[in-house]
Amino acid sequence: MAKTLYDKLWDAHLVEQREDGTALIYIDRHLLHEVTSPQAFEGLAIAERGLWRRNANLAVPDHNVSTLKKEREAGLAALPDVVSRVQLQTLDDNCEAFDVVEIPLNDVRQGIVHVMGPEQGAVLPGMTVVCGDSHTSTHGAAGALAHGIGTSEVEHVLATQCLIQKKMRNFRVEVTGKLGAGVTAKDIALAIIGQIGTAGGTGFAIEFCGTAIRSLSMEGRMTLCNMAIEAGARCGLVAVDDVTLDYFRGKPMAPDGASWDAAEAWWRTLHSDDGAAFDRSIVIDGSAIEPHVTWGTSPEMVASVYGRVPTMADMPDETARIGLSRALEYMGLTEGMAISDIKPDAIFIGSCTNSRIEDLRAAAAVLKGRQVAPTIRKALVVPGSGLVKAQAEAEGLDRIFIDAGMEWREPGCSMCLAMNADRLLPGERCASTSNRNFEGRQGSGGRTHLVSPAMAAAAAVTGRFAAVSEATQDLGAGA
């Protein structure tokens, strides 16, 4: 029978199917960070349970870490935020006590867990991958079955190497055609969420396919799958192809030699079969997608950069009108205003969505030889890992950002969720390459507009939301 990619990954990891509809699924790789793991380790210790398979687990600190070079060099003991320090120290202590491999704070391989995982080849095609973090959906870009879990499940995986799951339904999102200039994976993600809503993918694993997806790099596919959870789907997936294999070949933890050949043979089968049945399918014309900007407090509140904030008259019912009115009040916007009239105070380029080398290159291409507008009060560029940072510096991207007036920081989650000191002040408006524009997400009272790295850079230059072509017309596009 023709199978979907999700069906194949599920079947290859099915320990047992039970009569009540649940199943035991085997987990190949478990990534850990400091925020969602302490209570899981504590649970193991209380129950006197050990790890099922030590080697399945890889930990890295990312959410709380300082992105200031001086604070990083001073080490954990000098971190001014005592509460963050305790949580980071607890990860170190737990990894030591349970013999879990941990990438240390100041190792060049440290980074956001979802940047580090693929970069190290700790995540590979065909694996089941979990992490106590909803953006684990990122790894579906590799053709891996990957999703976020809660802390009870972190403990469950540590103790049993399995999860109790119900099979999700299959959702096929085909993006056809060729993307326009300046349109990126982030815009595809926002366009899809704008169309199906933040609950549109609930209960589904979404497979992204079509010519526009095939043309994306691995970085772009990671951006797209990362945002699957913002459409409600725990998993995003992209079939394995040469782009996938080229990305993983030579990664530190990837197989090599005969082992690679055996792996490649299996990985080559990781696509949906012709005629495989999907429970839901949509087709989107990729050539018609414009650069997107969110205007509200949910990722589905999104419009083209050439568009406008909706009006009350556009809303289908009273609940939607109340939602719009609340979002506009929080965001300090008026109904019907042009997106290009919205003026950010801050720029954030980073997060597990958009902090990889390709993202930094796209932002730098816009910023090269230009200056951040004087109305922008803060502008941070936070690379996703030490290796991304080193690569960017080797290419001179750090100089472009610094010369433009931006801050070049150390890797971490940073202002995506503001668990460290990087945050918005109440009322501050940010053009952000992160994934969530929820109330208070980037700092209490902060206002987030989600955009691609190129669009964040364009906003930095013009001081308002603008297409890249507009921001670069002075010197010619990509000068």
Binding site: V15, D20, Y26, A199, G203, A262, I322
Partner: protein, 216 residues
């Protein structure tokens, strides 16, 4: 895990769609390494007029008088009535811990986000899915009558209204059994340790690279 069999309690409203887990428990409180103590910071940004700080004395903070959970008529509420896509966003189980610590035993909504639903069920909190029309009707009744209570019966899978009407709802049979008996998932899975070991042997033969040492 504490068992859930039947629960009668006062209902409080959370009358907005897409309530995300950032709203339920803001990021600064995720720095705690404990499972308990999150209740005073549940819905922190809606509940208080100042900014919440970890380990602060929340009893001294200015309350938002317009937020339902601060209103006298909803004091002691243990059932939350909510709208579509409740619990979307982050996988933080802290959201479920905060609901539990506050005293909520059930949430009634037309739909839930997957990860929050799973986290709630693992913490003895029952997510009850009713139709949008039923939820509308409950909101209306709740606003009309102070002290509005409901009974959620997991044995019968029903929500009983004050007028003795009973609406049925569906729960995954496995989760229902765990909740009724207060069973711990890990204990249940470890009873199948032999099956996991047998699977692991064939999985290792098939995909040996997955099991390679990941030493740095």
């Amino acid at each position: 895990m504490k068992a859930f069999i039947t629960h009668q309690g006062l209902v409080a409203p959370m009358d907005r769609a897409n309530v995300d887990t950032d709203l339920m428990i803001p990021k600064q409180f995720l720095k705690s390494i404990k499972r308990s103590g999150f209740g005073p910071n549940l819905f922190d940004e809606l509940r208080y007029l100042d900014e919440g700080i970890p380990n602060a004395d929340n009893s001294q903070r200015p309350l938002n008088p317009d937020f339902p959970l601060n209103m006298p008529r909803y004091q002691g509420a243990s059932i939350l009535l909510a709208r579509e896509n409740f619990g979307c966003g982050s996988s933080r189980e802290h959201a479920a811990w905060a609901m539990d610590d506050f005293g909520f035993r059930a949430v009634i909504a037309p739909s839930f986000a997957d990860i929050f639903r799973s986290n709630a069920l693992k913490n003895g909190i029952l997510p009850v899915t009713l139709s949008s029309e039923q939820v509308d009707e409950l909101f209306e009744a709740l606003y009309a009558e102070a002290g509005y209570s409901l009974t959620v019966d997991l044995q019968a899978c029903t929500v009983s209204l004050p007028n003795d009407e009973a609406w049925s709802f569906e729960v995954d049979p496995f989760r229902r059994n765990c909740l009724l008996k207060g069973l711990d998932d890990i204990g249940i899975t470890l009873e199948r340790a032999d099956a996991i070991k047998a699977f692991e042997v064939q999985h290792r033969n098939r995909f040996p690279w997955v099991f390679e040492d990941i030493a740095l």
